[in-house]
């Protein structure tokens, strides 16, 4: 993809709505910015520097070589130099140098140090919410400097003084209150699952269950709640699969969300949100935990859960397992009867969600499944897939309407890569991507549809 001309401050005006006290207070955050916010923020910064090597090391060692500069979809899409990962990190680094390094304390601006001012804070709130924590930059960094770690720390510092987006905090609050991001209460969850059972009956003539709170089931499936609200074909895909292989499964109305928006705010919330699915698994007495089609949910569950809320010794390994791993396992063992022609007429390509690829190592399974259920499957260019995949443009708390200009520009590299394939369908196992791409298709005038991997599998299963 072509490297854009620099457009300084092109995105400075695009900011998320700020959360107010009714959203901040329930998450244990200051309801409004304290008068001594500057000291409080620096104090939090200092605390994180001592707790996270990924922060202190990555602030220290960057040599500003620029290898990452043209790797970020948000820079490629916007041309705003502050969206270059190195420059994004410099927003935090300049304050680090001024307040926490000898050079900055002695030489000040000569050592490129800068005071934490209101202007700097505004820049932080803008540009650390124009980073989707996708980690593509880290793949190309000689030291593995991970801008997601920098962004997470900056967001945590901001949250500690009551500066957070409405979208992220509202979603977390709903996850605490109802068990899911959309705020679907138990009765509605049960009703929706019944509705999907009726749909499945209509489609197949079979009694395919979409169980809720089924104690003693073998598997607890934790889908993104969007699979019940919007991506219902994915939900029915799970149901068809479990029905076909004869695994007893259940969803939980208490932990009806795979996603973990805590990851987009602070460590405390990451841990709390993650706790729910373990509690549900324990209460329902299931043997195994399976995650649905959600990108960052996979990172939080696969890489963090055992550390945060473990040891998880009451569930069978692999814990958790991804629904795509499970399905690929059954396909490999020849235990699923598939009819590829059910998906004929579709030209399918696959989008690697960032967190599945770069933070979850789930690269082969989705491709195995797609090759098994689609006749016309093709890949996007090699430098835009697998661990080099481009973010959809809406990850990490950016999937909100007021950030639409940034979202659409951030989607540009992916859209260009998609166009080269001539595909009619973009298969993607992530609810955020599924919500973002239809808007991006419309924006870029691409005539194509978004589907889940389990949607396509579900259709190809011979029941």
């Amino acid at each position: 993809m072509e490297i854009p001309q620099l457009h300084p401050d092109a995105c400075l005006g695009v900011q998320a709505h700020r959360a107010k006290k009714e959203l901040l207070a329930p998450l244990g955050l200051p309801p409004e910015m304290p008068p001594d916010w500057r000291e409080k923020a620096l104090c939090k910064f200092d605390e994180l520097l001592k707790q996270r090597r990924s922060l202190s090391l990555y602030l220290d060692i960057c040599v500003r070589c620029g290898a990452c500069a043209d790797k970020c979809p948000f820079f490629l899409g916007t041309g705003d130099p502050k969206n270059m990962p190195v420059a994004r990190a410099e927003l935090l680094r300049k304050v680090y140098r001024r307040h926490f390094t000898v050079a900055g304390k002695v030489a000040g601006s000569l050592a490129a140090g800068e005071e934490l001012t209101d202007t700097v804070l505004q820049e932080w709130f803008t540009y650390f919410y124009q980073c989707s924590e996708c980690r593509r930059c880290a793949v190309f960094c000689p030291f593995g400097v991970d801008t997601a770690e920098i962004t997470m720390a900056a967001r945590e510092v901001m949250a500690s003084i009551g500066v957070a987006p409405k979208y992220v905090t509202e979603v977390i609050k709903k996850a605490h209150e109802t068990g899911n991001n959309i705020g679907i209460p138990e009765a509605a969850w049960i009703d929706s699952c019944r509705f999907l059972e009726e749909e499945l009956k209509e489609q197949t003539g079979l009694d395919i269950k979409v169980p809720v709170n089924q104690a003693g089931a073998e598997v607890l499936l934790v889908p993104p709640s969007a699979d019940v609200f919007a991506n219902t074909d994915t939900m029915m895909g799970y149901a068809r699969f479990f029905h076909a292989v004869g695994i007893s499964w259940t969803t939980s109305s208490y932990a009806s969300e795979a996603a973990n928006f805590g990851m987009f705010l602070n460590y405390d919330q990451l841990k709390k949100v993650n706790r729910r699915m373990l509690d549900a698994a324990g209460q329902l007495g299931v043997k195994r935990l399976v995650m649905g089609e959600c990108g960052h949910a996979w990172r939080a569950a696969q890489a963090f859960m055992d550390t945060l809320n473990g040891p998880v010794d009451f569930l069978e390994p692999p814990c958790p397992e991804h629904i795509l791993e499970l399905a690929a396992r059954y396909i490999r063992a020849g235990r699923l009867k598939l009819n590829k022609s059910a998906n004929d007429g579709l030209t399918v390509t696959y989008h690697d969600p960032c967190n599945l690829a770069r933070a979850g190592g789930l690269l082969e399974e989705p491709r195995e499944i797609l090759r098994a259920v689609v006749n016309d499957f093709r890949e996007m260019p090699a430098d835009t897939i697998r661990e080099k995949t481009f973010c959809c443009g809406a990850g990490a708390g950016l999937l909100t309407d007021e950030l639409m200009p940034t979202r659409m520009k951030g989607a540009k590299p992916r859209m260009e890569a998609f166009r080269t394939t001539g595909a009619t369908h973009l298969a993607v196992p992530c609810a955020i991507c599924k919500a973002q791409f239809p808007v991006a298709f419309k924006h870029y005038g691409v005539d194509a549809q978004v589907v889940g991997v389990m949607d396509l599998l579900g259709k190809a299963i011979v029941l």
């Binding site: 620099l6 490129a112 190309f140 770690e149 890489a303 550390t307 814990c319 770069r358 190592g361």
Partner: protein, 256 residues
């Protein structure tokens, strides 16, 4: 400049370098890594991690993936730096051991030092100029560049240029230089060669030694080695990763 003063400056610079680097590295190593943040796909076994780190350390593999026009000068520059360091070690600090272990006579050793030293000196300059031009000419790289980025490049250029000047103009008395170095590191400092270029070269090196621990050049402390995205095993589901958090300050902020 009185000879003894130059030796003292070098002692001070070296002390700042060693203590400074030690302190910075100690802080990195001591700082806990609360979560498994390895970049995937990543190796599950320790041997795989060693391979990954070796690839980064010796081959700059990520950089090669990112940009060949950056990888080439960056890699050549770092290799020439290592060779120049070894050359100084062999030619000035332990000349007799180096000569003997290479199985060369004095003349051959001198000859080899001339050829290799000249080639590497020129290579290093070329790579540095390439890096500097890149920084100046690519708009996105110029945009991210700070004073210290140029300062480091210019300082290194001057050091290597003065070194090359001594070699190519042939003014340096190598025996005196070896005596100075031998006296210096055995703590019996003697007068340095009476050569202004040598004095300037050595003072610039002192400046570099002092500068390194307080700047981005601190990355010579094995940046990739300590980087959790690269040095962790990709096995969070096989083996519970226990945060080192509680162990270090006994006060987890997430205990709530």
């Amino acid at each position: 400049m009185p000879g003894i003063l130059l030796a003292v400056i070098l002692y001070v610079a070296m002390a700042i370098f060693v203590i400074g680097m030690g302190w910075r590295m100690y802080r990195w190593i001591r700082t806990p890594v609360p979560l498994k943040i390895v970049l995937t796909p990543g190796p599950q076994k320790a041997s795989g991690v060693l391979g990954r780190l070796a690839g980064e350390l010796f081959g700059f593999r990520a950089l090669a993936k990112a940009d060949r026009t950056l990888w080439t000068p960056a890699w050549l520059f770092h290799v020439s730096l290592v060779l120049l360091f070894l050359g100084h070690l062999g030619g000035l600090v332990i000349p007799h051991i180096a000569q003997a272990s290479l199985g060369l006579n004095e003349q051959q050793f001198e000859h080899m030092a001339q050829i290799v030293g000249s080639a590497v000196g020129i290579l290093a300059i070329a790579a540095l100029v390439w890096l500097l031009l890149r920084r100046l000419l690519l708009p996105r790289v110029r945009w991210i560049s700070t004073f210290s980025d140029y300062f480091a490049l210019v300082l290194l250029l001057l050091i290597i240029a003065t070194g090359n000047a001594m070699r190519f103009m042939g003014g340096l008395n190598i025996i005196q230089a070896q005596r100075f170095v031998a006296g210096w590191w055995t703590l019996h400092p003697v007068a340095p060669p009476r050569d202004p270029m040598f004095t300037v070269h050595l003072l610039l090196v002192c400046a570099l030694l002092i500068y390194i621990p307080f700047s981005k050049l601190v990355h010579i402390g094995g940046a990739a080695l300590w980087s959790p995205t690269l040095n962790q095993r990709n096995n969070p589901r096989q083996q519970r990763y226990v945060t080192t958090w509680e162990k270090t300050d006994g006060n987890s902020p997430a205990s709530s």
